[in-house]
Structures are given as structure tokens and as C-alpha cells.
């Protein structure tokens, strides 16, 4: 690289003033961030602004609030996020400890464990859907072989349907968060654990006094980021239950599509905007943390 640089020396004699170079750098910098700014303004900011403008009709909110399905979706969304995010991250935190254990077979298992995250939603969620089929799904067949009773009609029951959507959501996104928390765990210095071992600390004490204090901040960041991702998870509900039975398992992420299908674009936009009060405080909190 020095050859290339010195070959060009003649074009930029040493006499070039430093200030000129700095401003030329700023020009290059501006030029290089332009593509991103263009993408951001054209494909994020404008759509969001346009969406807000489209959702600015009070009449559609009145209609939306009169729709029972909307309120049902709000409750479902809160359950989906409350249970989904916390359960997933708690499991991820524990599993990150498991995957940190140095064993060849755990390393191999770690390679397989990532698969749900790497492969597309469509085939895997449909696989769940078929497993849960009441008549010929494998789960009810195993259940029948064990108990000689018919298993539940999993996806035709709103409570079970939503539960299974949460299960699918966790199946899909657990590897990602486990990996993040594993990276956080491996960043903790080994010496602390060694010192604790010398002092005779139990595994639980090590977790409580070393692991958890070191990972608390990361865990909180992950929880909040995961809330945004979970709020935006369309596939787990739509591909498993399609929002059914009788539209009782919709969440806000799938409700918009339901209104679009009913040709009620105003209601779709309004239902999306209704998630804003939930997101705004999280957004401010997250911005502050991440831009530190």
C-alpha cells in the first residue's frame, strides 16, 4: 500500500496546506454518507411521515376503537411481548452459561442450535403448524399413543394458539439472543471466577456476584431491543394461526395486514400508530443508552 501511496505523492505535493486537506476530507465524508442518507430519507423517513399523515384521520380511530378485534390484539400484543421477551431472554441467559462450557459436543450442539435463526420462517413455522394439526399432527398422535385420548385442537383455541405463537417466536429468535449473551459472558474476565473459586463460592454465588452484575446492562439493552423486534414479529403469528380462530390471536403486527385485506387502509395505519405510545419511551431510553 505504501507503493501506491508514494506513487501518488507527485499529485499531492507536501506543500498542500493541512486545512485544505481537512476540508477535502470533510467533502469526501459528506459524499460517502450521502448514499445512506438517501436510503434513509427515501425509504424510512418519508414512508413513516407519509404513514403518520395517512393515519391522521380521527374518524378512523373512532372506528378502530369500536372494533373488538383491535382491543383483543392490544391485549394479545402485551401478552406476546411480556411473556415472549422475558421468557426468551431468561432462557437465553441460562443457555449462554451452558454454551460457555468448553466441551466438544457442546460446540457441535451450538452449531446446530443456530439453525432456527439462520433458516427462513416459512418452512419452519409451517412445520410447527403441521405438527400441531389436531387430526394428523405428530404431537397429537404421540399424545394419543400415550394416553388414548384426543389431544387439544391447538390452533383452533385462541389461548393455545397464542401460546404456540409465542413458542414459535422463542424457537426462532432464541439462538440470536443466546449468542449475544454468550459473547457478553465470554467478555467477563476469567480471573474473577478463579478468585471466587478459591474463596469457595458456589455456582449460584458466582452467578449472583460476578455474572449477573457484569451482564445486567447488556441484558437490559437486549430486553428493550428484543421488545422492538418482538413487536415487529409478523411471521410467528401470521404463519402459524393466521390471526385465527375468528381473529382472536391477532397482534398489532398482523392486525394491519388484516385491515389491508379488508380494504381498510385507514384502519391499518391507525392500528400501527396506536403502538407509538408504547414505543416512544423505550425509544428515548434506548437512544440515550446506545449513543453513550
Amino acid at each position: 500500500m505504501s507503493q501506491a501511496a508514494s506513487a501518488d505523492l507527485s499529485a499531492f505535493p507536501a506543500a498542500a496546506p493541512a486545512a485544505g486537506r481537512m476540508s477535502s476530507w470533510q467533502n469526501w465524508g459528506t459524499l460517502l454518507v450521502l448514499p445512506y442518507l438517501a436510503v434513509f430519507f427515501v425509504f424510512v423517513l418519508y414512508p413513516v411521515g407519509y404513514g403518520l399523515w395517512l393515519g391522521n384521520d380521527m374518524q378512523s380511530y373512532r372506528e378502530l376503537f369500536a372494533d373488538d378485534i383491535f382491543w383483543r390484539s392490544v391485549v394479545n400484543t402485551i401478552i406476546f411481548i411480556g411473556v415472549g421477551v422475558n421468557l426468551k431472554l431468561a432462557i437465553a441467559l441460562l443457555l449462554s452459561g451452558f454454551f460457555a462450557v468448553p466441551r466438544w459436543w457442546i460446540r457441535v450442539l451450538g452449531l446446530l442450535f443456530i439453525l432456527p435463526w439462520a433458516v427462513p420462517s416459512i418452512p419452519t413455522i409451517l412445520s410447527f403448524r403441521f405438527m400441531l394439526n389436531p387430526e394428523w399432527g405428530v404431537i397429537n398422535q404421540v399424545y394419543y399413543n400415550l394416553t388414548f385420548l384426543d389431544g387439544p385442537n391447538w390452533l383452533n383455541n385462541p389461548v393455545l394458539g397464542l401460546t404456540m405463537s409465542i413458542v414459535v417466536h422463542i424457537w426462532k429468535s432464541l439462538p440470536f439472543w443466546t449468542l449475544i449473551l454468550l459473547a457478553g459472558r465470554l467478555a467477563i474476565s476469567k480471573e474473577m471466577y478463579e478468585a471466587a473459586a478459591i474463596d469457595g463460592a458456589s455456582a449460584l454465588q458466582k452467578f449472583r456476584f460476578i455474572t449477573w452484575p457484569s451482564m445486567r446492562q447488556l441484558y437490559l439493552t437486549c430486553t428493550i431491543l428484543s421488545m422492538f423486534f418482538t413487536l415487529g414479529d409478523f411471521n410467528s403469528v401470521y404463519l402459524l394461526t393466521g390471526g385465527g380462530p375468528a381473529d382472536l390471536t391477532h397482534v398489532l403486527a398482523t392486525l394491519g395486514i388484516r385491515y389491508i385485506r379488508l380494504d381498510q387502509v385507514d384502519l391499518a395505519m391507525a392500528s400501527i400508530i396506536c403502538a407509538l405510545p408504547l414505543m416512544a419511551p423505550l425509544m428515548v431510553f434506548m437512544m440515550r443508552r446506545l449513543s453513550k
Binding site: 486537506r21 460517502l32 445512506y36 418519508y46 414512508p47 418452512p123 412445520s127 424457537w171 446506545l290
Partner: protein, 278 residues
């Protein structure tokens, strides 16, 4: 003895984790290798496993699968386009922010984050309306740009973090030699950032390949859509050939898994290191 108990305890976690991860994937595979009428019998292994489903899918011998290869091709082209455009946009921005310290770099990083605070499913509808305004709806560019917009913020974030770790002395030495900004980019930044760029490009490519909702909203004609949308269309029919759907799904899931394993080393290191720092 103590050792034995430790191993037993580890297996007590390991076995459920293995089953939890693999059962849906195994079930998918099982469907794909089962003859039509035995797929529904709930057996753990078919009596007479067959590759007939693969044959049917590969030769497009069902009217649901008339465009299978074409849609596979669409998925590939779109994913590659998203990977390369994301890489181009994000690398340029990360270089400007991290190494040239362009004014307002911090603001741009915050703007980038803003994208993630609008959950994907919520951005989809406004994006759909905006694409209609731009006249891009039902063209593959709509999906490509949508995916680039979603992939770039994380890509910039990861590349900026990696860029900050390069020693500043490298740049200083090059500047003394009279290097210009493009030369710094070409001869110092690019070679050293190559591993991170592989990670980011793979991430964007997988994101686009696996995407369902945006593809389903933004593309409607059979000849334009990706495989994900084509498979989703099976859902709305009553007489769908499920074993073929699962077979096509398995074929569709193989490339991302292969790509992930090929570039795993880069992905694990770069995509997570950026996140832990915060």
C-alpha cells in the same frame, strides 16, 4: 465421580436443547422424504422413504410450482442485490463516520438506529404506500430497496465499531505519505475491514433471502415474487399438496443454512462484538 455428575448435568440441558432445536427441522425433512399418503401417519421414519417429492418440485410437476426455479432465481437475485447494495452504502458511511470523522456522524448513527425503533411489521405498510407513490410497487426494486433500508443501519453500526478499532497510526502514516481519502479507503480501510464486510454482506443477504412479509406486500405477480411468497400462497388453498410444500420449503431453507456455515466464523465474531460493547 464428580466428573460423571457434571457431564450428566450438562447432558440434562444438552439433550432437551438438541430436541427443541431439531424437531421442527426434522419434521420438515420427514415430510419431504415421505410418500404423499404416509406423511400424515405420525411415524418417526417413513416405511418407504422416497425422493419423489424432490423430483416433483425440481421438475415443477405441480401447478403450484410452475415457477419454482424462476422464483428461486428471483430470491437469489434479490438477496445478492440487497447484500451488495447494503455493503456499498454501509461501508461508505462507516468509513466516513469512523475514519474521516465527518461532521454529523453521530447524528447519522442515531438516525440509523431510528429505523430499528419502527418495528419491521409496522414499517411495512407505510413502505408499501410509499413504494406506490414512487411507482416501484410490484417491481423487484421495491423489495430490494426496502431490505437495504432495513439492513443498512445494523450494517453501519457493526462496520463503524470495527472501523474504530483499526489503529489510527495506520491512517497517520499514510497521510504523511500523502494519501488522499479515497486512497485511505482503498488501501487501508477495505483490506483490513474485509472480514467485517463479509459478515455484514452475509447478514444482509440472509435477511433478504428469508424475508416474507415485505416480499408478500411489495411483489404480487407470480413471475416477480420470491420463493417465500410462493410457499406462503400454499396456505390460502384447501387442496394444497403439503408434502410438496414442505419439500420446496426444505430446498428453500438449505442455501441460507449453507451460507451461514460457510461464513460463520466472521458472523459470530463481528455481528456480536458490536452489540456487547454497548
Amino acid at each position: 465421580m464428580r466428573n460423571f455428575f457434571t457431564e450428566a448435568r450438562l447432558l440434562l440441558v444438552g439433550i432437551p436443547v438438541f430436541l427443541w432445536t431439531m424437531i421442527p427441522l426434522y419434521h420438515l425433512t420427514l415430510f419431504a422424504i415421505s410418500p404423499k399418503d404416509t406423511a400424515f401417519k405420525g411415524k418417526l421414519w417413513p416405511d418407504d422413504p422416497t425422493l419423489r417429492n424432490f423430483e416433483m418440485v425440481i421438475q415443477q410437476k405441480h401447478y403450484y410450482l410452475n415457477n419454482f426455479w424462476h422464483q428461486m432465481w428471483n430470491s437469489l437475485v434479490i438477496a445478492l442485490a440487497v447484500g451488495f447494495i447494503t455493503l456499498f452504502v454501509a461501508t461508505a458511511a462507516a468509513f466516513a463516520i469512523s475514519r474521516l470523522r465527518v461532521r454529523g456522524g453521530r447524528l447519522i448513527m442515531n438516525l440509523a438506529l431510528l429505523t430499528y425503533f419502527v418495528p419491521a411489521a409496522f414499517l411495512a405498510l407505510p413502505m408499501y404506500k410509499a413504494m406506490a407513490v414512487y411507482g416501484l410497487l410490484n417491481t423487484q426494486w421495491a423489495l430490494i430497496f426496502a431490505m437495504v433500508a432495513i439492513a443498512t443501519p445494523y450494517a453501519i453500526w457493526v462496520l463503524k465499531q470495527a472501523g474504530d478499532k483499526l489503529p489510527i497510526e495506520l491512517d497517520e502514516a499514510a497521510i504523511i505519505d500523502g494519501a488522499t481519502a479515497p486512497q485511505l479507503f482503498r488501501f487501508i480501510f477495505l483490506p483490513l475491514m474485509a472480514p467485517s464486510m463479509v459478515a455484514v454482506g452475509t447478514y444482509a443477504l440472509l435477511l433478504a433471502w428469508n424475508e416474507y412479509l415485505y416480499a408478500f406486500l411489495l411483489l404480487s405477480r407470480d413471475v416477480d415474487t420470491t420463493l417465500a411468497v410462493a410457499l406462503g400462497a400454499f396456505l390460502s388453498a384447501d387442496d394444497s399438496p403439503w408434502e410438496l410444500l414442505m419439500t420446496a420449503g426444505l430446498i428453500y431453507a438449505l442455501p441460507p443454512a449453507a451460507i451461514y456455515y460457510a461464513f460463520r466464523r466472521y458472523m459470530a465474531a463481528d455481528l456480536t462484538s458490536g452489540s456487547v460493547k454497548s
